[in-house]
C-alpha cells in the first residue's frame, strides 16, 4: 500500500462509520488530536476530584458522605479508563502526568473555581456533570474504538452523578430560607462557568470542522451549549431557582432559549492559569504525585524481588 491508499482506506472507514482501532493506520494529526483530547479529558476527571473531595469530610449526613465518596471514586475511575485509552495511541501514562504537572496539558477550567458551600456540591453534580454528559454522550459513537468504549462506561456511571447533585439542590431549595438562598447562590456562581464548559463559540473554534470530519466531535460547541441551556433552565424552575441571566427568554421561532452574552475574557483568563484555584489544584496534583513516588518505587522493587526469588527457587529445583 502507498501513502495515498492508507489515507484513502482510513477516510473510507470514517465515512462508513467503521471504528478505528489502535493497530490501524491513522493520520498523525488524528493521533495527536486524540491524544490531546483524551488526555485532557482524563486530566479533567482527576483534577475534578479535588473540588468535591474538599467536602467529603463535611458532608451533612452519612448518606451524603457515602454518595459523595462513591462519586469521587467514579471520577478517579473515569480518569483511569481515559488514560488507558490514550495509552493505546502510543503515549505513556508518565508522559501524560508530566504534561499535566508542567502545565503543558490542560484540564477543564471549571475545576479552577472554588467550592465554598455544601450547595456547590449540588451545583457541580447537577450543572458540571450535566454539561459533561451533554458532551460525552455523543462521544460514545466517536470514531476511535478505545475512546468510544471508555465513554460508554463513563456515561453509564455519570448519570447518578447528575441526579445526586440535583437532589442536593432540590432538598436545599425546599428547605429553610437560608438553605434556599445557599442553593440560589451556588447556581449563580456555577451557571456561567458551566455554560463556558462547552468551549468557545463555533466561529472561534478553528478545529471543530476537522474534528467533526474525523467523528471525534459530533456536535459543535454552540449546539451542545444551547441544548444544555434549554433543559437546565426548566430544571431550575422545577425547584424554584432562577438561572442568573436576565436575557434568558424562550424564543418561539427558534424553539430555543435566547441567552445573554458570555464573558469570554473570564474564560480565557482561567484557561491561561489565572482562575481562582489554578495554582492550588495543580499544586495538589503535584504533591500527590511526588508524595506517592516512594510507594510506586517500593511496590515495583517488591515485585522485582519476589520475581527474582521465584526464579531462584526454580533454578535450584531444576
Amino acid at each position: 500500500m502507498t501513502v495515498h491508499s492508507f489515507q484513502e482506506h482510513f477516510d473510507a472507514k470514517i465515512d462508513n462509520e467503521v471504528m478505528i482501532e489502535p493497530r490501524d493506520w491513522m493520520p498523525d494529526d488524528y493521533r495527536k488530536t486524540l491524544i490531546r483530547q483524551i488526555s485532557q479529558h482524563a486530566h479533567s476527571e482527576i483534577v475534578g476530584m479535588l473540588p468535591e473531595g474538599n467536602w467529603i469530610t463535611r458532608a451533612p449526613s452519612l448518606r451524603r458522605k457515602a454518595v459523595l465518596l462513591a462519586k469521587v471514586q467514579d471520577e478517579g475511575g473515569h480518569g483511569l479508563y481515559l488514560y488507558s485509552a490514550a495509552e493505546t495511541l502510543g503515549i505513556t501514562r508518565d508522559e501524560m502526568f508530566d504534561q499535566l504537572h508542567t502545565g503543558k496539558a490542560k484540564y477543564s477550567s471549571i475545576f479552577n473555581y472554588p467550592t465554598l458551600t455544601w450547595a456547590d456540591i449540588g451545583a457541580i453534580g447537577w450543572l458540571v456533570d450535566g454539561a459533561a454528559i451533554m458532551n460525552q454522550v455523543p462521544l460514545c459513537r466517536t470514531s476511535y474504538g478505545p475512546y468510544a468504549r471508555a465513554m460508554v462506561r463513563v456515561c453509564k456511571e455519570e448519570s447518578f452523578h447528575q441526579r445526586q447533585g440535583f437532589e442536593i439542590m432540590m432538598t436545599l431549595a425546599n428547605g429553610t430560607d437560608v438553605q434556599k438562598k445557599m442553593a440560589q447562590d451556588a447556581l449563580n456562581r456555577w451557571w456561567w462557568p458551566s455554560i463556558m464548559m462547552f468551549g468557545p463559540n463555533d466561529a472561534d473554534s478553528p478545529h471543530t470542522a476537522q474534528s467533526m470530519r474525523w467523528r471525534i466531535k459530533r456536535f459543535t460547541n454552540d449546539e451542545l451549549r444551547q441544548k444544555f441551556i434549554d433543559v437546565t433552565v426548566e430544571q431550575a424552575r422545577l425547584i424554584g431557582l432562577e438561572a442568573p441571566d436576565k436575557d434568558l427568554k424562550w424564543n418561539e421561532e427558534r424553539g430555543h432559549y435566547d441567552f445573554g452574552p458570555i464573558n469570554w475574557d473570564e474564560f480565557w483568563n482561567v484557561v491561561k492559569g489565572n482562575g481562582p484555584c489554578n495554582k492550588e489544584r495543580l499544586d495538589a496534583r503535584k504533591k500527590a504525585w511526588e508524595d506517592g513516588a516512594w510507594v510506586r518505587d517500593a511496590a515495583l522493587a517488591h515485585s522485582e524481588k519476589r520475581k527474582a526469588r521465584k526464579e531462584n527457587k526454580e533454578v535450584k529445583a531444576a
Binding site: P22, R23, M26, G77, Y81, E87, T88, H302, R306
Partner: protein, 121 residues
C-alpha cells in the same frame, strides 16, 4: 513503507520493546507494567476484555481491576494478563487472513433451501 505502518504499542506488546527502541521517545522505566483486564460478568459467561491498568504485580492488578472495573457488580471473576504477553494479528493482513471464510457460505444453515413444511430442523 515500514515508516508508514506506524507500529503501535498496543495489542502487539511482543514488539513493544522493539517499537520503543525504534522511536526512542518512550521512557517507561519506573512505570508499573500495563495489564489487560478480563471480566466474567456472571457464572456461565466468558471472560471479556474490559480495559487495562497499571500495577506492580498480578495481585495488585487484580485488586486494582476490582476497583476500576467492577464498582457496580460488573464481575464475579477477573483475569489479568500483562499486556506484553498479548500477541495480536496484523490488521494489514486481515484481508488474506480471513479470506478462506469468504466463499464458504455453505457453512451457514441458511444456505440450504428446504421446503417450508419441514419442521424442527
Amino acid at each position: 513503507m515500514n515508516q508508514f505502518i506506524n507500529k503501535n504499542l498496543y495489542g502487539d506488546y511482543g514488539d513493544k520493546e522493539q517499537a520503543a527502541g525504534a522511536s526512542g521517545t518512550h521512557n517507561t522505566a519506573g512505570e508499573w507494567p500495563l495489564w489487560e483486564v478480563f471480566i466474567r460478568s456472571k457464572a456461565g459467561l466468558d471472560h471479556k476484555h474490559a480495559g487495562s491498568l497499571h500495577a506492580a504485580d498480578a495481585q495488585m492488578a487484580i485488586e486494582n481491576a476490582r476497583d476500576v472495573y467492577t464498582r457496580r457488580m460488573e464481575g464475579v471473576s477477573i483475569w489479568v494478563v500483562e499486556s506484553k504477553n498479548i500477541h495480536a494479528s496484523d490488521p494489514y493482513e486481515a484481508a488474506s487472513m480471513y479470506e478462506p471464510a469468504n466463499d464458504k457460505v455453505y457453512r451457514h444453515p441458511t444456505f440450504y433451501n428446504l421446503p417450508d413444511e419441514l419442521k424442527h430442523m
